[in-house]
């Protein structure tokens, strides 16, 4: 929705007047208190589960991000079962690996509590693992690239196959999803275009999109660029919590904010809190839990459809 408006505005801007952007040097705010950054997810897939811990830094400090080492990281499910994460390589990535007796952590309907003890402080995050529908199909049509599918610098195809995936949202308001697409095994999503859905729509619509087949803008999120004949398209649909949806909505807004109609910069929410609420050591980031469904297909020009978009 917003993207359409944006495109219209951009087209207008370039044609009518000579607006321009210049990268400038700013020192900004220095020496604000650094915070623990949590970046981690637990899924119902039998694979390594990773929680990355790092330290935030001054906004314009472009030094390498400092990992948080020597922390104790556990995830406890609502049955009281504890999963311990270990920093195997000493790089701040805390990993839990599946075993034959314990093939996965996540299970739909359970709630998971992340507990981190680092630098003498204890932080906690709670997240419920929500349901996810299965993907019915992936369809594509041959077309020329839309404005937002073009990037000549990166050699995106100028014409090719524009794909959509079909799935139906569950009945019941507030199911949230994240969609990740892979082209020949490579994740296509860039973080500033993180694809998320609320019920069957791209944004909150107070129940109006509840229980529908995913709307066209959601279905099209798997084509941030066009595919070519023979490419493998893999789609991963993840359930996320409403809080996690808000996190991505705001995170995406903050990195794409600008222009004539820029909003004031605002705080990106977090679900990680210091257990000691009076401590001035704070945490940011998100601990997410997801059920995942997959689908994949190989682009075959003979199977291309018409009139999809």
């Amino acid at each position: 929705m917003k993207k359409y408006i944006l495109n219209t505005l951009i087209a207008l801007g370039t044609l009518s007047l000579t607006s321009c952007e210049d990268v400038i040097d700013l020192q900004g705010i220095t020496n604000a208190p650094s915070m623990l950054v949590v970046d981690g997810n637990v899924t119902d897939v039998s694979t390594n589960q990773v929680i990355t811990l790092s330290q935030s830094q001054d906004y314009f400090n472009n030094a390498t991000v400092k990992p948080v080492l020597g922390a104790s990281v556990t995830v406890t499910d609502s049955d009281g079962k504890i999963f311990t994460f270990k920093d195997l390589k000493g790089d701040g990535k805390y990993v839990w690996s599946p075993t034959t007796s314990e093939p996965k952590i996540g299970q739909v309907g359970k709630t998971y509590t992340l507990k981190i003890t680092a630098n003498g402080e204890t932080y906690q995050a709670v997240s419920a693992l929500k349901r996810v529908p299965k993907i019915d199909s992936i369809a594509y049509q041959f077309d020329e690239a839309r404005l937002n599918q073009r990037d000549d610098d990166k050699g995106y195809p100028k014409e090719g196959y524009d794909a959509q995936f079909y799935a139906r949202d569950f009945t019941g308001i507030g199911d949230c999803y994240r969609i990740i697409a892979y082209k020949n095994g490579k994740m296509l999503e860039m973080s500033n275009t993180v694809a998320i859905a609320y019920d069957a729509a791209i944004q909150k619509s107070s129940g109006a999109a509840d229980g529908l087949i995913f709307s066209l803008p959601v279905r099209s999120t798997i084509s941030p660029q066009l595919y070519l004949a023979g490419d493998t398209i893999k789609v991963e649909l993840r359930s996320i919590t409403e809080g996690h949806f808000d996190f991505w909505t705001q995170a995406r807004l903050e990195v794409n904010n600008g222009g004539l109609f820029a909003r004031p910069s605002a705080n990106i929410p977090t679900n990680v809190n210091n257990v000691n609420s009076s401590s001035n050591k704070k945490a940011i980031g998100w601990f997410g839990t997801s059920a995942v469904s997959f689908s994949q297909t190989v682009v075959d020009p003979k199977k291309a459809q018409k009139g999809l978009r």
Binding site: Q57, E254, N256
Partner: protein, 792 residues
């Protein structure tokens, strides 16, 4: 409610009868008009030489003077017109006297006319008021050569915007929604075309512009900061007149002519942009068939039935259209009907009834290619109103105004239909109704030749009801990740149309003028203004999508109290006028938005709002040269505009988004000869505040900003400055060897400065783990333009 309305009408209708009773002296009254086109002259002076007293004409050119019986010399004058002197006999009965004044053209230079009201600046009650003549506005070097009223008033003291291309304007530290923009008495909700680059007013159809920033008379109300009163031309009542212009962005044409000479006339004026036509060859593939254009149509007819009755009907219709397959359009329309009635030579009535509408619509499927997968969104606000205004000319020293207004609002803040694979769902914000009723009385009293006061009282009332069978009540739940404002909503069932909340305000108004010498005066004023509708806008510049919302049980009306003090002095036989004013304004129930507020199509938007107070104060200096080859002005404003809202900035005062510390404007127009004239203007404005993140953090390889909750405006965009120039060459003849014409050459942003509009931060495009700051300039180079104007 009904009883309340009935009372208003009874009072309004009986009042004139009571006044008729006392009739001791005799009265001369009538209309003063322009001899060339029959347009009523606003603010012309009617002066009785023997008594050294006088009055001025009202908005319709009507005057009334009540004096003791006798023979008098009446001197009628107006700036830019030849003085007219009449001997009148007021011995037996009151007199009706209509006069026409001749424009003070170049050829009359030998008869140097000293129009009395040149010292209006010092002598009148008005302070914090700027009147700009269309003649002056037309000479200001303009962006792309297009004469623009709203951009022109930004050169006045106390008026700013958030930046180039932003729609609307800010007056004395108030928000864009705090200006009541009236076009022939009907409110205009979005004054901009093309987002904010051009205003909706066609300069060829505008007669008079008045901006009231303070000391607002009791007859006006409904907004907290200012009144921009735009009056349309009536149309040439003497002969056919055609005006037009061909510019870079759009072209204009207006036709005015008498229907019955000196009795009835009309004007029709139209404009259309043609960027889309010029751009057509460059749009291919999916972009083919794109349209972006705007147009507007302004029309007015008037009929002078007899000496006592004149009726007017005027309308405006404008629209901006953008779209490829995806379409977006917005526009205002207004229709006002007016009846001027002279009850007696001392009592004048203007009754206005109007309709006003602002709407927009978005459609994801303009060409209807895939009706099974579409998204449609529309929003509007509609007004219907009736408004009688009486003027009672008690004596030359005492004029009473009184009247009232009933203004109904119909809000459809946003309704959307989403269709996915043929299944449709509708959602949006609930529709609301409002009735704003008011009565007022005001008096202008010249206590002594040196001292005069204007005082009045306005009573306003607002009744809010819902068109749905429910409404929401805000309740405090505490600030959290889910409720950044700290509020949630409770659903409350309600009978459709039943009044949910009523607000009432008494709005006192007061101004005084004390003449400290022949050419100087001190003025002071106080006013309280209540505002019952609010623009929900959370972006750097207000967008056409922003929604006007009613005051509700959760949203209280904004109330502003302003005091102002000024010193006014004219020099050099009124060739120069100068003024210095200070003001202080306090605003209650100001609105700001919680972090992550969602204002569009969100039925629960009221929980995303934050309320607090605002204040603004400043100093305005103004020097203007009125006559001679070189004319123009210099204005300087020192100003602060702040808000204080509990959840924001730790509950401390913070700068509003439109806070501008220094504003310097210089405007000069130089007439070399009858053929050539030049114009130049310079603007310097302190940058607006913006918010920089404190920390960065990385999630999934992408860097994100950390901004502590509730941070507002911790940095400031660098200053803005710009110089524009223009040259006008007048030709004796226009097309087909008739009329007159001119070429206007202009350069906007002469020294090619990339003026910053805003600064924002983003991850580096090639390395999303790195951060950078970006300065956005809306107009990043100089903009030359040529316009051809004609008149015949």
């Amino acid at each position: 409610m009904n009883a309340f309305l009935r009372n208003i009408w009874v009072v309004l209708l009986l009042f004139p009868l009571c006044l008729q009773a006392q009739n001791q002296k005799l009265t001369v009254s009538g209309y003063i008009k322009d001899v060339k086109n029959g347009e009523g002259l606003i603010g012309a002076s009617v002066f009785v030489k023997e008594l050294m007293t006088g009055t001025t004409t009202n908005t319709y050119g009507f005057y009334s003077l009540t004096v003791p019986k006798g023979n008098y010399t009446l001197v009628v004058s107006s700036v830019g017109y030849r003085k007219s002197i009449r001997e009148i006999k007021l011995t037996e009965q009151s007199l009706s006297l209509n006069l026409e004044l001749q424009e003070d053209g170049q050829e009359l230079e030998e008869v140097v006319v000293k129009a009395k009201r040149e010292d209006d600046n010092v002598k009148s009650m008005e302070m914090s008021v700027n009147k700009v003549e269309m003649k002056t506005i037309k000479k200001i070097p303009a962006l792309l050569g297009e004469v623009d009223l709203v951009r022109a008033i930004q050169f006045l003291p106390g008026v700013t915007t958030v930046g180039e291309g932003a729609s609307g304007f800010n007056v004395r530290g108030g928000g864009v929604d705090q200006n009541l923009i009236l076009l022939d008495d009907a409110p205009v909700y979005n004054s901009s075309h093309l987002f904010g680059f051009f205003s909706v007013f066609n300069p060829d159809a505008v007669k008079d512009v008045k901006l009231i920033k303070g000391g607002v008379p009791a007859q006006y109300g409904g907004r907290a900061s200012s009144i921009l009163d735009v009056k349309m031309k009536e149309g040439n009542a003497k002969e056919l007149e055609i005006n037009g212009g061909i510019g870079v962005i759009f072209s204009r044409l207006s036709i005015e002519a008498p229907i019955v000479k000196d009795k009835a006339s009309f004007i029709v004026a139209a404009r259309r942009s043609y960027i889309d036509i010029l751009a057509k060859p460059f749009l291919t593939g999916n972009n083919a068939g794109s349209s972006f254009n705007f147009y507007d149509l302004t029309a007015k007819v008037n009929y002078n039935i007899d000496n006592k009755n004149t009726v007017f009907l005027s309308g405006y219709f404008g629209r901006d259209v953008f779209g490829q397959d995806f379409g977006f359009n917005w526009g205002n329309s207004t229709l006002s009907g007016r009846w001027n009635h002279v009850f007696s030579d001392k009592l004048f009535l203007n009754t206005t009834a109007f309709y006003s509408n602002y709407d927009y619509a978005l459609d994801s499927d303009l060409k209807n290619k895939r009706p099974n997968n579409a998204f449609k969104w529309s929003s509007n606000i509609t007004n219907l109103s009736i408004k009688p205004d009486f003027t009672y000319y008690i004596s030359p020293n005492n004029t009473l105004t009184f009247g009232g207004q009933v203004l109904t609002y119909n809000f459809k803040p946003g309704a959307a239909t989403a269709t996915s694979e043929g299944e449709s769902r509708s959602f949006g914000q609930e529709r609301k109704n409002g009735i704003e009723s008011s009565i007022y009385v005001g008096d202008e009293w010249k206590i002594s030749p040196k001292f005069s006061v204007q005082y009045g009282l306005r009573f306003s009332r607002y009744d809010y009801s819902s068109q749905e069978d429910f409404y929401y009540q805000r309740k405090y739940v505490g600030v959290s990740a889910d409720f950044p404002s700290g509020y949630d909503l409770t659903y409350i069932p309600n009978t459709k149309g039943k009044t949910i909340q009523t607000y009432q305000n008494l709005e006192p108004r007061f101004s005084m003028n004390y003449n400290t010498g022949d050419n100087s005066s001190i003025k002071a004023s106080y006013n309280r203004l209540a505002q019952y509708v609010h623009l929900m806008s959370n972006t750097a510049a207000s967008t056409p999508l922003d929604v006007w919302t009613s005051s509700t049980n959760n949203i209280k009306p904004q109330v502003a109290d302003q005091v102002a003090l000024g010193y006014f002095q004219n020099f050099g036989d009124n060739m120069y006028e100068a003024s210095a004013e200070v003001f202080y304004k306090e605003m209650q129930n100001q609105i700001d938005y919680a972090d992550r507020a969602n204002l569009f199509l969100n039925p629960y938007f009221e929980k995303d709002l934050l309320f607090g107070k605002g204040r603004a104060y400043g100093l305005e200096l103004f020097v203007k040269k009125n006559r001679g080859k070189l004319t123009g002005w210099i204005s300087y404003t020192l100003q602060r505009s702040e808000k204080k809202i509990d959840a924001l900035n730790n509950g401390n005062w913070y700068f509003s988004r439109y806070d501008r510390t220094h504003t310097l404007n210089m405007l000069a127009q130089y007439e070399i000869n009858k053929k050539w004239s030049f114009g130049a203007n310079f603007a310097y404005i302190t940058g607006v505040p913006y918010t920089l993140p404190e920390q960065q953090f990385v999630v999934e390889g992408q860097v994100y900003p950390y901004i502590p909750a509730g941070t507002r405006g911790n940095f400031r965009v660098p200053a803005y400055h710009r110089l524009d120039v223009s040259a006008t060459k007048k030709n004796k003849k226009a097309l087909f060897g008739k009329g007159e014409s001119e070429w206007v050459f202009s350069i906007y942003n002469l020294y090619n400065r990339r003026n910053p509009f805003s600064i924002y931060t983003r991850p580096n495009e090639t390395n999303p783990a790195q951060t950078e700051a970006v300065q956005l300039s809306i107009i990043g180079s100089f903009v030359p333009a040529v316009t051809y104007n004609f008149k015949f």
